[in-house]
Symmetry: C2
Subunit: 481 residues, 2 copies
């Protein structure tokens, strides 16, 4: 028989990994956020064929330390200030390690009672923490992309008398075009969901946003009316609470009113900013979401839980269940009145994701989570003031949470300004200590800085600003030469 | 500021978890496979609201040990012989722990070069191990449900001149009904994919299987022809290599020929049995899959990798990319010629799943993996002989891999036999040391025993058979009383 991994070897390797993880979390700030690696470089360090014989765990961990760890982008780095900055916190890592050892598939209650009931319980904790009504039922998916797709599939299923589940969309003249409304700031996952569900990208109405990047309600109302007049059926509005570029919040109160009057499904994409609603003083910004039909928010974004963990809260979970439940003979069980998570979506296999989330919530406590989110928001506001005090820079969007969008006011034309900002970003990111990303706002290249990692301190943010400032000087000087 | 998790506390907890994982893997066999727990019992041990204050990691881990671990179904138990038996092996657990600490989102090459390139490399190792042509490109999804949905979305996108991505399926008289062919033994994920994609369940043709539970080729050819005659368009065939009930293998060679002639997409669902193709002597059973357009196989099923890890191999990955790629401003990057994994499906967020898979393949080596799969198949064959030697039992399906389907020949009518077999299964599963599941074959209740856990030995299988035998005697005796 070939080489076996003995119990003592494994135990030793687990302890070695414990130290590797602890060391990494302690020292990750010493890496450049972006690895200095060219495309193909990692691949060239990996053999082209799999080893015939087993290798020792120590040797594999050595290679991990040599080839893999230095060549990832360090999302857990305190200087990671791009996209939405996230945290794989210690308690969450413990949960993931235990979950991998249990290796349960929580597709049915029976295939893991504790995983099913913990998921329901923890999602209800979150519902309360977010201040949402009791009627909402949550469950965990991998990503917001999937949660939003499921929500829109439920919206499609809720269309009266169409029975799309059974009959499909094609070859049925009685099926109207089903329209989905999002703002021009909405996440691409909305478009992907519409594509996947067979509705067609042309049924996505990108409603123009206002000067603060919020969906313009008047434009939404007009679009809905125009579609009705043209014989199309407004199916769903996706309102975003915390858009990807600026974390702007769509006017959910007014949108909810329209949706109620018109019988349109309201899905709220709060994937990032939803976490902020656990702070009572920030919750006002979410006003109206309690009237939504579905809400997605991702603890793996701003609630310090390792990726993946996306919570989908449904006002009427039965609609989702009837859209997706399908129980083959080999998955029939006797238990009555239990939740079988497989009924709530596309995926049959379900990891035990609530375990890490439970550990995170318990380790920090609600107040601890609130404190940290407040602190991130405060640091973002302070940075925004600093930027605004600099005559060469401008904050170009409100800062409702922990993301600051800004621009270097340089160059003689908008185009030149765009390219100078792009050069600035490349210069900043080539330094190592920080990673900032970009977006486009009203057609203009914009720098986007997000604070969301637990290890990011005041000092890191100050340093980031100094790095940006110094980089601007260097880019300027290079221009003049 | 609220309680923080200090570095030393976290390090100590990581070491405690290292021992908990090692102990669990060593002693899991002492648990009953199915926990003795009633619906609601776990929930009743969990507070109804989240804690205000943070708690110590030790206290949380104590609760894990008390509330969670004893109340999961132990998928990693050597006596777990239900569904498809799986293994979260030690090397895979190391990978998951490290991956949680890195917490990368491998959506773009830039957001984790090592994760992207390792995924490509490891998928190519697997391609070679399975004996598939170089043209196939693999990437990792969470589940086969998603992989199959993506494959069918690619098939839909490949329909010439329909542009369903942009225009959708509804309100277009020129769109024919798009039909998907599966056998009556195919997995429910095929139906779910068809539902989700908006094609409608009525477009699923469940082709009858033969006496060995393989799709009847003549019936498939007839169904395709009938649909063509009726003006519908045959879009895809999903052939299964290793069906969920019996691990039967559809005649892929003939099906591939038909698909080629007719311009129909061929997707192969080898989610479980695909792993067996790494053994040259078992590969013959997969003949024809090298002509497929797409193949899914799950290392998290029978390749000892913790859930979730599903590999989708595409003959023309560009079709998938053009079905799903959609790059918003905030995700644009400069690198050319790199793979951005987000382009290959619905999900934007991507865990670093290749890490665990790399560790598993290296720790066991190709020969080690082959040995273990062979051993599982041998144990299944031996058990089947044992069952067949017992006049009261009958093996009711061929055993091409490691699943044995059998029935207790008892009762005076088919209905009574069904209910006696059900009673037998409940009696077996109530004992603790083993967990066996059921399915329905040709309308008849059938016991389904799967061998796939690394810790399952000859002795466990023998014990399982003794337990089944003894349970039958007890059920018999209870009947007579």
């Amino acid at each position: 028989m070939s080489r076996d991994v003995s119990d003592p070897e494994l135990r030793a390797a687990l302890h070695r990994v414990a130290d590797m993880v602890a060391d990494y979390l302690q020292d990750v700030g010493q890496y450049p956020v972006l690895p200095k690696v060219q495309p193909g470089e990692v691949a060239s360090m990996l053999p082209g064929i799999a080893p015939r014989q087993g290798e020792s765990l120590d040797r594999i961990l050595d290679d991990y330390a040599r080839i893999i760890e230095p060549n990832v982008t360090h999302w857990n780095h305190p200087g990671f200030l791009g996209y939405f900055s996230i945290t794989g916190s210690g308690p969450g890592i413990l949960g993931e390690a235990l979950s991998a050892a249990l290796n349960v598939n929580a597709m049915l209650w029976r295939t893991s009672p504790a995983a099913t009931e913990l998921e329901e319980r923890v999602c209800d904790w979150l519902r309360q923490m977010l201040g949402l009504p009791e009627i909402f039922r949550g469950h965990i998916n991998d990503t917001a992309s999937v949660s939003t797709m499921l929500a829109l599939a439920a919206a499609r299923h809720a269309q009266p008398d169409l029975d799309i589940r059974e009959l499909g969309l094609a070859g049925r003249p009685e099926i109207p075009e089903l329209v989905v409304y999002i703002s021009d700031q909405a996440h691409s996952s909305c478009d992907k969901a519409v594509m996947t569900l067979g509705l067609g990208l042309r049924q996505v109405r990108r409603i123009v946003s206002d000067e603060q990047f919020r969906m313009r309600f008047d434009a939404l109302a007009e679009a809905v009316e125009a579609d009705r007049r043209a014989g199309r059926r407004p199916m769903a509005v996706v309102a975003t609470a915390g858009t990807t570029s600026t974390t702007s919040v769509d006017p959910m109160d007014r949108i909810a009113g329209l949706c109620q009057r018109e019988g349109i499904w309201l899905h709220v994409d709060a994937a990032y900013a939803g976490s902020a609603a656990i702070c009572p003083e920030l919750r006002g910004q979410f006003s109206g979401w309690e009237r939504a039909d579905s809400i997605v928010f991702n603890p793996h974004k701003w609630l310090f839980t390792p990726i993946d963990c996306s919570v989908l809260l449904m006002r009427d979970v039965e609609t989702l269940r009837s859209a997706f439940s399908l129980v083959p003979d080999y998955l029939k069980t006797d238990e009555e009145g239990v939740t079988n998570l497989m009924d709530l979506g596309v995926q049959l296999g379900r990891r035990f994701r609530s375990l890490k989330l439970w550990m995170v919530i318990r380790a920090f406590g609600v107040e601890g989570l609130q404190d940290r989110i407040r602190e991130h928001c405060r640091m973002a506001r302070d940075l925004a003031s600093l930027i605004d005090q600099d005559p060469e820079f401008a904050v170009v969007a409100p800062v409702p949470f922990s993301v600051v969008c800004f621009r270097w006011i340089a160059g003689d034309s908008p185009e030149q300004q765009d390219s100078l900002n792009e050069a600035l970003l490349n210069e900043v990111n080539s330094q190592g200590p920080v990673f900032v990303t970009s977006t486009v706002l009203k057609g203009r290249y914009t720098l986007h800085l997000a604070i969301g990692n637990l290890k990011t301190t005041e000092q890191h943010v100050q340093d980031a600003w100094q790095i940006i400032r110094a980089a601007a000087d260097r880019v300027s000087a290079a221009q003049l030469r």
